[in-house]
């Protein structure tokens, strides 16, 4: 017997999960790499402050943070799809195993 095709929610959820995983990976690599390279062994003589934040924190954490907020809003309102969740179908019955 051939398997039935995926429900539209499964397809959209899988696509959205892959995009989020890529965003997570990109954020992690950028943030940790940028902060490590630009934040190691800093002194008051060579550091600059942007809006009161040390430069490596501003560009490595603060800017990505609010960029992520913008991306999240765009993702939620422009990419993520609404799908019906369906009604309660069972009562948690499972096989004896």
């Amino acid at each position: 017997m051939s398997e039935l095709p995926d429900n539209p929610l499964v397809t959209s959820a899988r696509r959205e999960a892959i995009v989020v995983a890529l965003i997570w990976l990109g954020t992690m690599l950028y943030t940790t790499f940028y902060c490590y390279v630009n934040g190691s062994n800093r002194t008051l003589d060579d550091i600059t402050f942007v809006l009161g934040f040390p430069d490596w924190i501003f560009w490595g954490v603060i800017v990505p943070w609010y960029t992520c907020l913008a991306i999240s809003a765009a993702f939620a309102y422009g990419f993520m799809r609404d799908d019906p969740l369906g009604d309660d179908e069972g009562h948690g019955e499972v096989a004896d195993g």
Binding site: L9, A17, V20, C68, S72, A73, A76, R81, P84
Partner: protein, 531 residues
């Protein structure tokens, strides 16, 4: 000399207000849940969570972390912004990776609890049983730690209290009659309102404390930086470096004992700890299962993102300013309470406003305990008692069993804290890591892999949990590597990483391998879950 204004009666009054509000919310929740069947309404709120209750309760931290994070900023400097930086992505990962699918599967299987969900998805009772036992193990430890925090916060809120915050390892002198009375009041309150209102009471009190925290932090930020004594954020940072050394503005972070607070491997690890600890915790999964619809999950991403953006960065700034006002606080957990009292010193009924800020961690602790009470009692009553012992149990019987389990849990946690547990914050990290390593991979397999089998899910759960447990046991018996937080309850940092990284890796490898080595699941069951 200590220049911190006295909390007076403000803190205890604010705590009593929070307690009264929580009980009131519990009684309202009771009226709402009485409209549905007991199990579905009491343990899952009839799957009716809206945007605000979903966004501000599903992935928000425990009370211990509320107190611990500002303390770390004050102690170690700007690198703690990177340590917590992964919260920038939590709204997306918390709702958009598993949310829609788990909410759908829970409806298709009729699942009310997390073990129910896994048992139904893999069509095997043993998966549900193992999930129940793991939840019972990790969440009971977590709850015991939270009870101690609740008792200590009650103690420090007494008008003549000499301390302003809980400490991780309370000394014998901290455990006096004030602590014991505080512990009893805390236990009775949180068990009482959860017992009355179930899941909804837990969610609403969680929302209440999140709102309290939001206004507390924003108000404290404005008051702090409008005071001429503080100056600018840059001036505060320069003052902090003068008191410590230049590690305070560097990646490694400052520590009095010379340890390296953050390493490259640890900074990557925390993109696992906070992300997957939130996404795969049983309390978070059960709230996602209760989502009203997918639009709720979608809009929750934006609400939580906005909330996190206004909570975390301001708290870092406040802790930097604290270095100007209080250059050398012996117990850095006291830093937010001290700043709250200092910033509100000239306001009318200032100590009450400060008390409300102090009450936020108390509310967070109560909300955390309350959500665990619901998750654990649902697991014991529905997934063990009803499923294995008395399948024919009536609704009244299940209700009585639930109340009994909640009271017993409260008693166990109270007794365990008469001589309190130690290493509160470390226990929180251990339980969070254990939950993530146990449930992340099975949840992803459930949602997206048709071929996944119950044997694979069992191997993933047990392998992940055992790895985290093993690395913590190994760490306790090893010498201090002088990285990360200073605590005796530390894990073994294999290749410099937190145990959760290895727990998830082992769980994934075992889940895939065992699945591929076991017979495929029945086609009609898989179609029911996916088609």
């Amino acid at each position: 000399m200590d220049s911190t204004p006295s909390p007076g009666f403000g803190a205890i009054t604010a705590l009593l207000v929070v307690i009264a509000c929580s009980v009131w919310l519990g009684t309202i929740a009771q009226k709402v849940i009485s409209r549905g069947s007991f199990l579905s309404s009491y343990f899952l709120g009839n799957r009716g969570l809206g945007v605000w209750t979903m966004a501000l309760t599903a992935t928000v931290q425990s009370g211990g972390t509320f107190m611990g994070f500002p303390s770390l900023v004050y102690s170690h400097g700007w690198t703690v912004a990177l340590w917590i930086g992964s919260y920038m992505i939590v709204p997306l990962t918390g709702f958009a990776v598993l949310g829609k699918r788990l909410a759908q599967i829970s409806r298709r299987t009729g699942a009310i609890t997390v073990p129910d969900l896994f048992g139904g998805r893999f069509n095997d009772r043993r998966v549900a049983l193992v999930a129940s036992l793991l939840i019972l193990f990790f969440l009971t430890f977590m709850m015991i730690a939270q009870f101690k925090a609740g008792g200590l916060i009650m103690k420090i809120s007494w008008p003549d209290s000499a301390t302003l915050a809980l400490v991780e390892d309370a000394s014998a002198s901290d455990i006096d009659y004030k602590y014991q009375i505080g512990l009893i009041i805390f236990a009775m309150t949180v068990v009482g309102y959860t017992l009355i209102g179930g899941f909804l009471a837990s969610v609403w009190t969680d929302l209440f404390q999140s709102v309290l925290m939001f206004f507390g932090v924003v108000g404290l930020l404005v008051l702090t930086f409008s005071d001429p004594a503080v100056g600018s954020l840059e001036q505060a940072t320069r003052a902090a470096v003068a008191q410590t050394n230049e590690n305070y503005i560097s990646f490694a972070g400052y520590a009095k004992d010379g340890r390296q607070f953050l390493t490259p491997a640890l900074s990557i690890s925390f993109f696992f700890v906070w992300i997957f600890g939130g996404m795969a915790s049983p309390a978070s999964i059960s709230r996602v299962m209760a989502s009203k619809d997918t639009g709720t999950l979608r809009r929750s991403i934006v609400v939580l993102g906005t909330y996190n953006g206004r909570i975390y960065v301001p708290r870092i700034c406040i802790c930097m300013a604290a270095r100007v006002i209080y250059p050398d606080v012996a117990n850095s957990d006291e830093i937010i309470p001290r700043m709250a009292l200092w910033a509100t010193r000239d306001l009318p009924i200032g100590s009450f406003w400060a008390g409300l800020i102090l009450a936020a961690p108390f509310g967070a602790v109560m909300a955390t305990v309350s959500s665990y009470l619901v998750v654990i009692s649902s697991g014991v009553v529905h997934d063990i008692y009803q499923r294995f012992l008395r399948p024919e149990a009536t609704e009244l019987e299940l209700k009585r069993a639930t109340y009994l389990i909640m009271v017993l849990l409260g008693l166990v946690c109270w007794l365990a804290n008469v001589q309190p547990v130690q290493y509160l914050q470390a226990l929180v990290v251990f339980c969070t890591s254990g939950g993530a390593a146990s449930f992340l991979v099975p949840a992803i397999m459930s949602a997206y892999w048709r071929r996944a089998t119950h044997q694979g899910a069992l191997a993933a759960m047990i392998g992940g949990a055992a790895t985290v447990l093993g690395l913590f046991l190994l760490g306790i018996s090893s010498s201090d590597p002088m990285i990360g937080q200073a605590t005796r309850f530390r894990p073994y940092f294999l290749f410099g990483c937190e145990p959760v990284v290895w727990g998830i890796a082992v769980s994934a490898v075992l889940g895939v391998l065992v699945t591929l080595l076991s017979p495929p699941p029945e086609q009609h069951h898989v179609d029911r879950m996916f088609a």
